[in-house]
Subunit: 666 residues, 2 copies
């Protein structure tokens, strides 16, 4: 009754890596027992389904779980789940019928299952009264009573890693329906993605799909503007193009917000409570640190009724703002004072140099330096963010993204602007833009996909090599058969190139998208063709990113968020920037002689800029971020609950109050 087809064929979803026992382990030692066997036994006792795989170098335990085990763990975790009346209530296994199912019919989402798995396997403690001595490959671990087993094994290095493993059946299905389904263009099985990879990654692909689909309009318009010669009307047509592009971008983002809130409802996320809830479950997962302010907040939350609590909140709120403001100011100042001169110097030297060889050398040095710069910038930002009072891990990641994006923004655009304003030659600028767009996108797409494969191949090669070396002379099995789980263990993580502590690989994917968006938007007037390039690139991007996730990388750890987070504001910022830069470019185009005299044309451009800025902020108000049906649903749910238990609540409240008064009288 409690479960359907998809859940009953239990899939293995978690892998635990242990060193391969070398065989010289002496059995019969009474006081100590084999570590791996104890672990397997304990996993079985906890209700998990265990599969032992012996690999070339390591031994693997694959874990699956029947629905009931997960459900009980969820109840212990006090997980909140969406019920049929639309409110989130604490999960109870007995009342499982009251909770809504995922779009694919399963009870728990991948994120919830992951939390439950972790709760189960890290919750195994020694219930006996005596210390158990565990041995593996010469290492000895003392499992004291009441201590969690896995933590101890991790600390002495017996358990090398715990990671989510691919579910082969679903992976192959997704590979067919998503990654290799090139003819669908922008259409993707978003629900399946959400189900397999969690909400955060699904929201990236939903965004990418919608972005690509919407891009078709400016791509067509841009092609027309580029290819047709309008003669003397050219400037006028460019202005019209520019205005429609800005309106397009503003509308796109507003409609994305609407779509995102519809997705949140579909995925049963109650934003922002969903993220808070998720963060609570993941506590100490990604981040070992707990900011001191957060602790204060927790204490404060209990005394909000008293004025002291309110003051504490105020103080803490302003302290948080101040810290955030200070950090942002530091980053902005260092970008302007350190990075801007460096970039300008590079652009200038590049311009001055004559020989191609020295240009090439300079570029190589530059590329090497900025790699290093970015790493340092990312690390500094991570440190700064730690001192901020962000509500949860996702907000912390957002704060970091803003800071790091400032760096990349300067890096990507300042050189082009230098070219544009120095030469005031549209043709050269266009060439530079085409070069940058094509090179960066083609290169990045190739790197993105080949690098993980190369890494994996190298690791695999080394593993097989080691195995051969060890087995030299021994007449054991010659076939280098490698189990699937071992292959996955050798695959690289889905991790960010910088700032791994706060972000995963989505950072790189979003960064690519945002830099592309900035490039085509900010130079829309001189390079209308950019949109067409970007469209082609994004159609490829959807499938290559899918392929990367499905075939090249380990299954990523799910994140509780279901929005695109900081990137939305970054896109908004790029729109505003693009209004200003396009106006500057239009002035350059209009005022070819460089007289800089305010004539009707220049004044018209200035007025247009202000009108566009107005449009930007008025449009955002006109299109509401939340569709009316979602709001209506929410209101209905809230009143529903209150009506359902109104009388009971009232009685208990007045009861409480009378009790309190009686106590006071005593």
């Amino acid at each position: 009754m409690n479960g359907n087809g998809a859940e009953e064929e239990t899939a293995f979803e978690i892998g635990v890596v242990l060193p391969k026992s070398s065989g010289n382990y002496k059995h019969g030692d009474n006081k100590s027992s084999d570590c791996i066997e104890v672990l397997v036994e304990e996993f079985r006792k906890a209700g998990l389904i265990v599969d032992r795989v012996v690999g070339l170098q390591n031994e693997f335990i694959r874990l699956g779980s029947p629905l009931e085990t997960l459900g009980k763990a969820a109840a212990e975790l006090q997980l909140k789940k969406r019920t049929h009346i639309g409110v989130d209530l604490q999960f109870h296994w007995d009342e499982v019928e009251a909770f809504e199912r995922q779009p694919d019919g399963s009870l728990f989402s991948w994120f919830e299952r992951y939390c439950c798995y972790r709760h189960i396997i890290y919750g195994i403690v020694n219930t006996s009264t005596s210390t158990v001595v565990l041995k593996s490959d010469g290492i000895e671990a003392h499992w004291e009573p009441g201590k969690p087993l896995l933590r101890i094994l991790e600390s002495v290095g017996i358990v090398k890693e715990v990671f989510p493993v691919h579910d082969e059946k679903k992976r192959k299905q997704l590979l067919r329906s998503w990654a290799l389904n090139w003819w669908d263009f922008t259409v993707q099985p978003i629900d399946d993605i959400c189900n397999y990879y969690g909400t955060k990654i699904a929201s990236y692909f939903a965004f990418l799909g919608m972005y690509t689909k919407w891009m078709l309009f400016p791509a067509a318009f841009g092609l027309t503007v580029q290819l047709v010669d309008f003669g003397s009307l050219q400037l006028f047509v460019l202005s019209a193009f520019f205005i429609s592009i800005v309106s397009w971008a503003v509308l796109f983002l507003q409609f994305w917000k609407r779509k995102n809130s519809a997705l949140l409802v579909r995925w049963q996320m109650n934003y922002p409570a969903g993220v808070d809830n998720g963060s609570r479950l993941l506590e100490g997962e990604w981040y070992q640190f707990q900011s001191p302010v957060e602790l204060m907040k927790k204490q404060g939350a209990e005394k909000t009724d008293k004025p002291r609590g309110k003051e504490a909140f105020q103080r803490e709120e302003w302290l948080g703002h101040f810290m955030r403001f200070r950090n942002d100011a530091m980053i902005i100042l260092s970008i302007i004072c350190l990075q801007l001169p460096f970039e300008l110097a590079f652009a200038h030297v590049y311009e001055v140099l004559r020989s191609d060889i020295s240009k090439f050398c300079l570029t190589a040095v530059y590329l090497f330096t900025i790699q290093y710069f970015n790493k340092i910038g990312g690390k500094i930002s991570v440190k700064l963010v730690k001192y901020e009072n962000n509500k949860n891990i996702e907000r912390r990641a957002d704060s970091w993204v803003y800071k790091v994006f400032g760096l990349y923004f300067m890096q990507s655009y300042i050189g082009i602007f230098y070219h544009a304003l120095l030469h005031r030659n549209i043709m050269t600028l266009r060439q530079v833009l085409i070069q940058r767009l094509i090179i960066s996108e083609v290169l990045e797409n190739m790197l993105e996909n080949s690098l993980p494969y190369l890494k994996y191949s190298f690791k695999k090669y080394r593993a097989v090599g080691n195995k051969r070396k060890r087995e030299k002379g021994r007449p054991s099995e010659k076939t280098q058969y490698m189990s699937r789980v071992e292959k996955e263990y050798l695959k690289p993580d889905y991790s960010a190139s910088i700032g791994e502590e706060l972000e995963d690989g989505l950072f790189d994917d979003f960064l690519e998208l945002a830099l592309q968006f900035g490039m085509i938007m900010m130079f829309a007037c001189v390079f209308p063709l950019g949109f067409a390039f970007a469209t082609l690139n994004n159609i490829t991007e959807i499938r290559t990113d899918a392929l990367k996730l499905l075939a090249m990388l380990r299954r990523p750890i799910p994140r509780p968020d279901a929005t695109i987070g900081a990137w939305l504001n970054i896109f908004q910022f790029l729109i505003v920037m693009s209004i200003c830069t396009n106006c500057i470019l239009l002035v350059c185009l209009y005022d070819r002689d460089g007289q800089w005299k305010i004539s009707p044309g220049l004044a018209a451009i200035l007025i247009m800029e202000h009108v566009l800025l107005l449009i930007k902020f008025v449009f955002s108000r006109i299109v509401p971020e939340e569709p009316a049906w979602i709001r209506a649903n929410r209101m209905k749910n809230a009143t529903h609950v209150h009506d359902m238990c109104s009388r009971q609540l009232l009685r208990s409240i007045s009861g409480e109050k009378i009790n309190a008064e009686l106590k006071k009288d005593e």
Copy 2:
């Protein structure tokens, strides 16, 4: 137990006006009965306390109510009230202890009491089976079974009016502590005002007080800038002044939003549910019309679960946006195409005319014309708003305010701008500004207070005159003693000068404030002294408005809202406008020769403009609209409720689901 001092001394809060029986009414007619006596009897039966007052021209029934009668009416109305655990639940008289009290200790707010009174007196129906014939002064009314008494009497003209009357004790107290308490400057007893006049008027005075208090900083700065001669640094100082003024204004509005949300908590309003709730109670009160879209919405709300409901919502949402967009576009176009040429023509003709007499005549004609124009504009806007799909009456009023403000905005500033740009002479502009500010504010303050008094005096004079005429020759009592309730009946309403259907007198008060704010902000660079003038004016305004409300006018009908509504956005808009206009003025000041050449100075002003626009939108993000303690409280309350009845809810949900499945199987 259920009530405290303030409530037990029941005050009379509602007055009903009836014609004075002329005495020639024949008693003993069996089939019909005296209307007034029946009415009084029915009021008594409904649990109200009734006081009959015979005035000079009319007879008055004053109504008070014991707490219990109000409480029962509130329960019948299904009023939602804040409970001690912070959520709004339906009121039940038995569980009165569970509900939170107002800051002054009374159970119901003035708005809630007003709704209850209306529910009681309009809820009196004929419970017998036969029609009762009521007679008064020759008019006969047939009270059929099941029909509400008061509506029938209103329709035949026996009940002339039902209006809220002043509570003498509280009024005198407020007069002492508020209106005549000049030495408190900006400090006002906001809780008492809220208690006596309702949340909407209290939020106006809270805003006015905070605005005046914050104004002290720019007033002091402006005085310094005006009085000290900075020589060649003048332009630099003006720019600094301008930047600090814009930052001040942005911060002020953000802090007002914070204060407003704190006030909402204090006044137990759950925005926007509070307004929705209130609107429901007031249904058909201010507005007889019910938009067809609203009806659709209500039907739609019941089928949100089905996809059809979702589609209906989408359709209705976009239809609403389209209607609103169309209306706004119509208004903006007609302002630009009709009003702008008219205003420019007036400004130009005024400039061209030489003789003072013709100037005076022109101004008189102009003033007369714009009065007429505004009335027409207001009426057209009311008609347009009726076709919009606004959620409730307050949103409808907001939509109207935006439209009408456009009119006033053009009217107030376009002439000044014409002067500024035509003459480019700062001294003349300054003179015009001083004239406008002083004349408009002094005149308006005087008119605002004297007009109601004159109206009242005239009505009173006429009433006494009529009485004398009627009693001529008769040797009856000579003393023209006038009861308090009759005096109040003769006092004018607190109503808007235009668009009475959607707004009350607050519109005029807010309009004055907004026009003043626009005047001092938009011309801050050329007239820094304006802030000092405005401060003085606002300190007076607080007390004169209080005096007007307490002494000159009838007690206003309370409104369910507790924010300043549309005016907040209008203030925001004025800040953005002021950034642009001040930059233009600075350019004029800088570029005295009118060369309009882009030089470093001009470019600097342009960059400053962009930076300020950025500040405007970044500051609004930095300072959150809702203090952290309020958000934390709300979250706590929501989880509190769910936790309290989590299990019970779950059981009922799974029960429902099983029932539904059983039904399906059948």
